[in-house]
């Protein structure tokens, strides 16, 4: 059962990568990366149990913190003026024009 859950999480991580590559706006990509990080934490915890080494949970804790810091940092950077014109969908830009 642990291995089945790991495989399910790996499939979901693949879906998140697809959305991060396809995603039309910048925020879709950030959302996909955030989801990828959360699923990575779960995968590390599950793999620790699969291999019988629960010390992996320390790495999972550190990874959760790094994921949060990176998402907040990218969001702060995206508030700067250089991002203003890149963030919008091409459709909405056309509508506003």
């Amino acid at each position: 059962m642990l291995i089945a859950a790991s495989v399910a999480i790996l499939i979901v991580m693949g879906m998140a990568i697809i959305r991060a590559v396809v995603g039309p706006t910048l925020y879709d990509r950030i959302l996909a990366v955030n989801m990828f990080g959360t699923k990575t934490v779960l995968l590390i915890a599950l793999l620790g149990f699969v291999m019988g080494r629960p010390e992996f949970l320390d790495i999972a804790i550190v990874y959760a913190l790094i994921n949060f810091i990176s998402v907040i940092a990218v969001l702060h950077f995206s508030d700067s003026i250089y991002f203003k014109h890149d963030t919008q969908d091409k459709k909405t830009v056309k509508k506003e024009e």
Binding site: I9, R19, Y27, N34, A45, A64, K84
Partner: protein, 107 residues
């Protein structure tokens, strides 16, 4: 007693995997950024909680269970905060929600 605990752990892991997969399908198939964020934000917290609870039921030592509880609490605090910050940044940058589904052919 052991069988009860293992069956409960199996059910938690199954439900968590199902919720993870539904979140993955949601992030691929929803038409808009905000609806995608709904799919991810709703399923992330409950799926993580279910999988971590399934692992907690299998953990033998108190050490492991305490670490899992720490991970669960951090997930429950961090994910809504990140979702809120993401929605606020997207809204301030002028990304409009998709309001009328019939006008758009995407979906």
């Amino acid at each position: 007693m052991d069988t009860v605990i293992s069956v409960a752990s199996l059910l938690c892991l199954l439900l968590g995997s199902f919720l993870c997969l539904s979140g993955g399908v949601g992030i691929l198939r929803f038409p808009d950024f905000y609806t995608r964020m709904h799919a991810v934000g709703v399923t992330d917290t409950l799926a993580s909680a279910m999988i971590l609870m399934g692992l907690m039921l299998q953990g033998a030592e108190a050490n492991v269970v305490i670490k899992l509880i720490i991970i669960l609490l951090m997930t429950l605090f961090i994910n809504p905060t990140a979702s809120y910050a993401l929605a606020k940044a997207a809204m301030y940058s002028g990304l409009k929600p998709l309001l009328n589904m019939q006008k758009s052919k995407r979906g």
